[in-house]
Structure formats: C-alpha cells, structure tokens
Amino acid sequence: MTELKLPSIDYAAISPILIMLGTALLGVLVEALVPRRWRHVVQLTLALLAVLAALTMVVLSADERIITAGQALAIDGPTLFLQGAILVLAAMALLLIGDRSVERGGAFVAQAAVTAESADDRRQAEGRNGLTEVYPLTTFAIGGMLIFVAANDLLTMFIALEVFSLPLYLLCALARRRRLLSQEAAMKYFLLGAYASAFFLFGVALIYGFTSGIPGRTAGVDFATIHAAVGESPASPVLLFAGMALLAIGLLFKAAAAPFHVWTPDVYQGAPTPVTGFMAACTKVAAFGALLRVFQVAFADANWDFTPVLGAVAVLTMLVGAVLAVTQTDIKRLLAYSSIANAGYLLVGVLAPSRDGLAGTMFYLVAYGFSVLAAFAVVTLVRDEDGEATHLSRWAGLGRRSPFFAALFTFILLAFAGIPLTSGFTSKFAIFGPALEGGQAWLVIAGVLTSMVLAFPYLRVVVMMWLSEPGESTPTVTVPGGLTAAALTIGVLATLVLGVAPAPLLDLATGAAEFVR
C-alpha cells in the first residue's frame, strides 16, 4: 500500500477561511451553552470580531501569491482583494442583521417553525426576540464565500458553493413579517439553487472527462490541468463546450444573470431586508470572483469560444434587468432588477481580458456592494406598524417627511444611475474603458443604452420621494439605531469617496489584478 502523501498547507494564507468557519462552529456552541438573553450580544460580537480578525489576516498576507492545499486554493491578488471586499461588506451586513432597534426584536422571526399567519405568528411578530442562529448561519456563508473566490479547482469550488448557499437558503426563510412570502422565497431559492448546483456538478464531470488522455498528465479539475487541456486535450471539444456551458449556468445563477435570474426578484423581496442586502453585495462578489477565475484562468485560452456567448448573456441580462425594473412597484423588487442589470455590467468586465478589466470588475464589485447595502439599509428604515413599507406608492412625499434619509437614498439612486461624483459613475467607467479597449464596443454600447432605460425607474423613485405630495399612508422613517446608522453611513460615504477619489482603491485593485496559475 502506498503511503498517502499529505499536501502541504499554508495555514497563515488560508487563516481568514479558518477563522470564519471556526467562528461559525463556535457560534453553534454559543447557541447551546449561553443563556438566551445573552446570545444576541455574544453572537453579534463574536461574528464581528471574527470578520475583523479575518480582515486583519487578509491585510497581513496582502503580498501572498501562492497555490496551497494541493491545488485546491489559490491565494493571490484577486483572491485577497475579493476576500477583503467580502469581509468588509459582510461586516456592514452584520451590522444590519444585528440591529434590534429599528424593529423590536430584530428583522428575524422568533421561531421559524410557527405556522405563518397563525395567532402564534402574529404574537411573535409583535416583538419577541428574533432567532440568534442567524449569526452562525451568516458566518458559515461568509466562510463559504471566502473559499469560493479562492477555489482553484472545480470540486473545491462546488463545495464552497454549497457551504455558502445552504445557509443563505435558510436565512431567506427567516423574515419576521410576511412569513409566507419569506418561506416562498426560500423554497424557490433552494429548489432553483439545487438545480443550478446540479448543472455545475455535471459540468465538472464533463470537464473531468475532457482533461483525461493528455500524455504525461493525470486527469483533474484543478485549473492548471484544465488550462493545459484546453490547448492539448485529444478529447472532443464538445465535452469542453458542454462542460463550460453547464459550469457557467451554475455560476451565472448565483450571479443573477439572465436567463437564470428569475429567482432574484422573489427572493430579494421575500428575504429579510438585511439578508437581501447581504446577498446583493457579498454573493455578487463571490459569484463574480468565481466567474473571473474560471473564465480567466481555467478557460483563458478558449475565450474565442465563450466570449460571444457570455457577451450575449451580458446584453440579455442588462436588457432584462433594465426593462423589467421600469415596471416595478415594489422597492425591493426594483432593487432586485437593478441588481440583475448590474450583473450584466459586471459580465462586461469579465469579458475584458486585461489587467485593467480585472481591476475594474473588482472595483465595481466593491463600489456596488457599498451602495446596495446602503440602499437596503434605507429600505429597512421606511416602515409603519406592519413592518417595512416597500410599495413605491407609499414612498410618495418621503422627502417632505424625512428629508435627510430621502436625500441619502436619492444620492444612492443617482449613484446607481451613474451620475458623476458617485461610485456608480467611476465603476462604470472602470469597466467600460477596458471593455472598449478590448474591442468589445458592442457590449459598451449595450451598457450605455440600458443605463438610459435604467435611469427611468431610479428617477421615478426620486420623483415619488420629492415631487409628490405625501399621502395619508406615507410611512415615517424610523430613526435608525446605532448599528443601521453605522452601516448606512459607511455605505453612503464609500459611495461618495469612491466617486470623488477612486484612485487609492483603483491602485489597490490594479496591484492585485493578477491571477496565479
């Protein structure tokens, strides 16, 4: 029997992942051992500290460029940049998740198993403290995302996908109010997510088949092997194309790109708003991190084959997101379609195969994450006694009732619309510039055209808030507690700073924008 050779592992380089997963396990123990009234504080502190610790480790290993744990994890510039992004955005999301002053007891249900719309359900909605299991679930999800952007082979990637998806499915079902909507969202997300995972896994199998038969190499699904196989494999290219397509379906599903976007509006609407923000910011970063690595490392040499297809997907995504956003009457659904359209813009960045393109895409992810979290933070504040008032007609005249928050939200909407001096503009520039340079003028023109369409729904919200008279049913804006206020402040400030002085983050992104193979 041959001796099993253990791969060497650089524990320092993967410590952010270990910290997050370890904390998640610790969080499960806290649930079991700490008295109920302390759990919320302990869990939130623990999660935030873990994120901070992980972030510190990311910053400390900023110059690391290695592949470790066999071929499983690549800790390189993009990994570290995206891990840092996920951690910063996750910290903001945790602030929103942890807030218990906006809604008594927090945004989460007290007992998820209570039958929706029953008397019990109404009682729990009135202010019993929410579940604290959300913190370990969130930390598990963050840990999974950290692996996802570092994964250097398709199996690791698949496992990471499941590790961060399963907690998200659960989190979606935990909204305190409108339980049916929330459960429906979770169910839909879970079923469609399971399909997407299956597609991904099938793609992995086909790619494995494709890599076999190269002289001097064993078959495998690590990216170096796939990269070599794209050039030399004797196997039929049909395997490669089918595998690539199936992998792309799995990843594009998570990225909310058309035509795999149908879950997005329902899930964004049904999920508790802090979780929606978490998904819109962090899941996007993770999904695009993986897309970038798969298509720019593993399949880099097949870019003649996938660029037209992914380009068509990008155009379709922009169109679907922009056009359907126009018809929305619910603010969370509107933001969901806007998020779909933004996935389209990000795909343009994925198809700009240059260092600037990669840097631009990463910059976009961070900038968008800050803005979208701030947007959802405002959504949690606009409420009446039945919870959040998400229907757009209820936002009429909000600018008159609470000019400060309406002004903040207007600023974020202007950022989404790409008005200069906001991060929305600089990030669009960061993506469209390299894309045009890479000869993808058609994608840039599609991006510009859909931006025009997309400006209309944003403007409609602005009109609602400022130019309409307040109606009887216009809710007031709750004064946010410290945690939400902190998240909102960070989001808005980042949107402004990245719009006015993007150079430092751009430098950081450009410095990081090189994959190791």
Binding site: A455, L459, R460
Partner: protein, 511 residues
C-alpha cells in the same frame, strides 16, 4: 494677478456659498436670500477681475491650472479658459445675481424650503462655471452631468404646472445625450492613449470611421442640450414649468453648454468628421430656425413661447458654427452671449408679468400696458432685442452669422434670413396681445397687476438693458476676446475664410 487660480476659485466659491445657504435656518429665508445674493456678487467681482486680467492678444488658453485627480485614468482637474469660455463665464457671473434678485419671492409660493432654492441656484452656478472652465474632457463630462441634478430639483420642486413631467423629461433627455457622450468619451480616451487632457487629445490622429462615431456621440449630447431640432421637445416643457429665474438660467446659460461643447470639443477634436457632418448640422440649424419660429407664433403660453424663440436662436448659432468662417463663428459666439442677455431678460420680465397675473397664458392678458406701463415697456424692449433689432446687441451677432454664412453657403443664409421675419411676427404679436389693445377687464381685478416694477425689479432689468444697448453699439471689447479663439478653432479644422472678391476672381484682382 494673472497667477491667481481664478477658474478653480470661481468654480468652488459658489459651492461653498451653497453649503452656507443650505444650512441657514429655514425660518430665516430673508437671511438666506441676502447671503446668496452677496455671494453671487462676490463671484461677479472676481469674474470682472479675471476679465480684466485676460490678455486678449495672448495665448489661446489662459489661467491654466492642473491638479492630479485620478492618475490611473489620466484624469486631472485641469482648468483653462479661451476667449469663448471667458465670455460665457462672464455671462454666468452677470446673470446669476440678477436671477437671484428676480427670484426673491419665487420660492415662497411653493411651500418648500426657501434657503434650499437659493442653495440650488448657487450649486447650479458652480456646475455651470465648471463646465465652461474645464480643460479636461473627463472633468467637463462630470460637470456636464452633475449640472442636471440642481436643475432637476429647481424645476421639479419649485416649478409650476406640470413640473414633475417637465423635470423628468428634462433629466432623461439630457441623461440620454450624456450617456452617448460617455461612450464617446471612453472611446476617445482609448484611441487618445489614455489621457483626458484637451490639448493632448487635440493632437491625436483618429481614423476616419472612429472619428465619425465619436463625433456623433458628442454631437448628439450637445444637440440635445442646445437643443437643435429634432431634439428640442424637452425645452418648451422645461422652460414652461421652471420658475422664471431658473428658466432664464436654463435657456440663457445651460443650453449654451451644447453650442460651446460643439465649438470646444466637436470641431477641434474631430475636425474631419465635423466637416463631413457639417451639411447635416446646417440643415438641422436651418430647420430649427424656421420650424421653432413657426411654433413660437402659435404659442399661447408666454414661457413656452420664449422657449421656442430660443430654439430658433439656437438654429442661428448652429448655422454660425458650422458655416466655418471666422465671421460666422464670431457671430455665433457673440450670439451665445447676446442671446443669454436678451432671452434672460425676456424670461425674467415674462416671469414678473406671470407672477403678477398668476397665469402664464397670453389670452389672460391684454392691454396690460395701461396698468403697468414700465413693465410693458421693458417687455417691449426685451422683445425687440430678441428679434434682433438694429441697435440691440443680438442684431450684430445675427448679422455676423448671416454675412459669414452667405460667403460660403448662400441658400442656407437666405432661408435663415426668413427667421428674422418670423421673429418679428412672434415677438410683436406676443407684445400686442399682452400689453397693447383694449384692457382685458379681468386683468384690472387682479391686485398684482396694479403694481408696476418695484425698485428690486428695476435693479434686475436695468443692467441687462444697459448691456444689450452697449454691446449693440460697441461690441469691440467682446469681439476682441472672441475673435482669436474662433480663429484658432477654425485653424483646428483647417478652414480659411474665402478671400473677398469683387467682380472677377481673386487671381485676376491680384494681377
């Protein structure tokens, strides 16, 4: 003194003023107005100093300043002004204090915060100055887009009937143009070697096909902004709904960004494409002159009527620019200034009439001259200036455009001349229906109509009337500044004026 960073200070100063005004307590509107007015006067004084220290015979671009902004993309805060920009900056500096003074009570009727109204006017001034002072394409684009935001809220929050519709239409139209320009800006950046500096970009050789596309991207944005036929439909709505002061700035200055952009960006950066597209642009200009004038004749709403007259005037400016002669070009730039003065005055006077009557419909007036003779007189003067009566400043510019065009393109000049006749029709008929004839009995029952111009309003109109008359007789100080800049622009596109000839050809005359 010429080392003083005029342009950046001029750009930032109104913004600081806006912040000060915005944070003044809401229950002290008078204080906000006074601070805003004083601040705009300060800007005016500074601009006058800048005008004096501009050396008309010196470099094309003066007061150049450059600070690094986003080095990754070659973006910098570069400011510089040529004669054209200088004239426009002066126009802004003169108009804004007058507009603030004229809008003294406008914001009170809207139930909204009065300090915010004046803060928005100052923010608008900041962006307007920035857009003319920028010498970096990216910076220009930033101001070009950000300008929409204060104007949007001025129209949408403080406007009259249909203000929501007008504000959204204004914003979307401008944004559409702006996004096409963004695509072209990025394209220019890529072919220009990743720089945004105007002077570097004007040296770049671009292949013909690319150049035409980029020209189109810029031109579309400017044509919507100006606006030229057929992109004009937003202006009557926006001008009709905006409060009179904001409308004066919208038509008097904001729209000039379009024609200024063509002169500063389209012609020098894309000379070949400009020549190639010139016939089309001339056609749009001529159609605009006639079509908008005809529509103006038919208007029953005073502010919409004035908006249509300006579309016709922008037709003249467009013709002057694309005729590619120094005379026509100088005329066009002079027209930009004079139109700002004349139409600004017309809008403000019309605003005074409307606020007295409480209606902007011409049919609600009639014989108003008997009640408010001075106001009616000023309206008549503004109308005459607007139809370019000799002796008023617009006459000189219109005449320069026409003779400059006639030397190279007779049919265009002849059709454009028709515009003068139509201008007489819409102005005189409007004046007749509002202030002449028998007194509309309903009019004498309105309290406001018994008050003629008060001191504040006289202070508003007096400087504009004086400038219009002065420049009508003695335009030299302005043309001296404009001429070298226009000459340089014509050099950029490689056009020289046709040599004058009498009878035979030039060669014969030379013998």
């Amino acid at each position: 003194m010429s080392n003083f960073p005029f342009l950046s200070v001029l750009t930032v100063a109104p913004l600081v003023g806006a912040l000060v005004v915005a944070f003044l307590p809401r229950h002290r509107p008078e204080l906000a107005k006074q601070v805003a007015f004083a601040w705009s006067l300060l800007v005016l004084v500074l601009s006058v100093v800048m005008w004096v220290s501009f050396n008309a015979g010196g470099d094309r671009f003066q007061f150049r300043e450059s600070y690094s902004w986003i080095p990754n993309w070659g973006v910098s805060f570069t400011f510089a002004a040529d004669g054209i920009a200088l004239v426009m900056l002066m126009l802004i500096a003169v108009l804004v204090p007058l507009v603030i003074l004229a809008s003294w009570h406008d914001a009170e009727s809207s139930k909204r915060s009065v300090p915010v109204y004046f803060a928005l006017l100052l923010v608008l001034e900041c962006t307007m100055i920035g857009v003319f002072a920028a010498a970096d394409v990216f910076l220009f684009y930033v101001f070009f887009e950000v300008m929409l935001v204060p104007m949007y809220f001025l129209i949408g929050s403080y406007g009259g009937h249909q203000r929501q519709y007008a504000a959204v239409k204004f914003f979307l139209y401008s944004l559409v143009g702006g996004l096409f320009m963004l695509a072209a800006v990025i394209g220019l950046w890529v072919v220009g070697g990743k720089t945004f500096d105007w002077q570097a970009l004007s040296q770049v050789d671009i292949s013909t096909g690319t150049e035409r596309w980029l020209f189109l991207g810029f031109f579309l944005a400017f044509a919507i902004k100006a606006p030229f036929f057929p992109f004009h439909t937003w202006l009557p709505d926006a001008g009709g709904a905006a409060p009179a002061g904001a409308a004066a700035l919208l038509v008097g200055v904001l729209d000039k960004v379009g024609t200024f952009g063509i002169l500063r960006y389209c012609l020098p950066l894309f000379p070949e494409a400009s020549k190639w597209f010139a016939p089309w642009a001339l056609a749009l200009g001529v159609i605009g002159i006639v079509y908008a004038a005809l529509l103006a004749v038919g208007q029953n709403d005073l502010k919409r009527l004035v908006s249509y007259t300006s579309i016709a005037h922008f037709g003249f400016i467009g013709v002057g620019i694309f005729a590619f002669t120094t005379q026509a070009g100088t005329g066009a730039v002079l027209y930009m200034l004079n139109h700002g003065l004349a139409t600004g005055l017309l809008f403000l006077v019309v605003g005074m009439l409307i606020s007295r009557r409480g209606s902007s419909l011409i049919s609600d007036f009639g014989g108003a001259g008997k009640l408010v003779p001075v106001l009616a007189g000023v309206l008549f003067f503004a109308g005459l200036a607007s139809l370019a009566l000799p002796g008023t400043a617009p006459f000189i510019s219109e005449f320069l455009v026409l003779i400059g065009t006639f030397t190279v393109n007779k049919p265009v000049a002849v059709i454009a001349t028709l515009g003068i006749i139509l201008a007489a029709a819409y102005v005189l008929w409007m004046v007749q229906r509002t202030t002449q004839g028998t007194l509309n009995p309903a009019l004498s029952e309105v309290d406001g109509m018994r008050r003629d111009l008060n001191l504040r309003e006289k202070v508003v109109v007096a400087p504009l009337i004086a400038l219009i008359v002065l420049l009508g007789f003695f335009p030299k100080p302005v043309t001296d500044v404009i001429n070298p800049a226009v000459q340089a622009t014509m050099d950029d596109i490689g056009r020289t004026d046709p040599a004058p000839s009498v009878g035979g050809t030039v060669q014969e005359a030379a013998k």
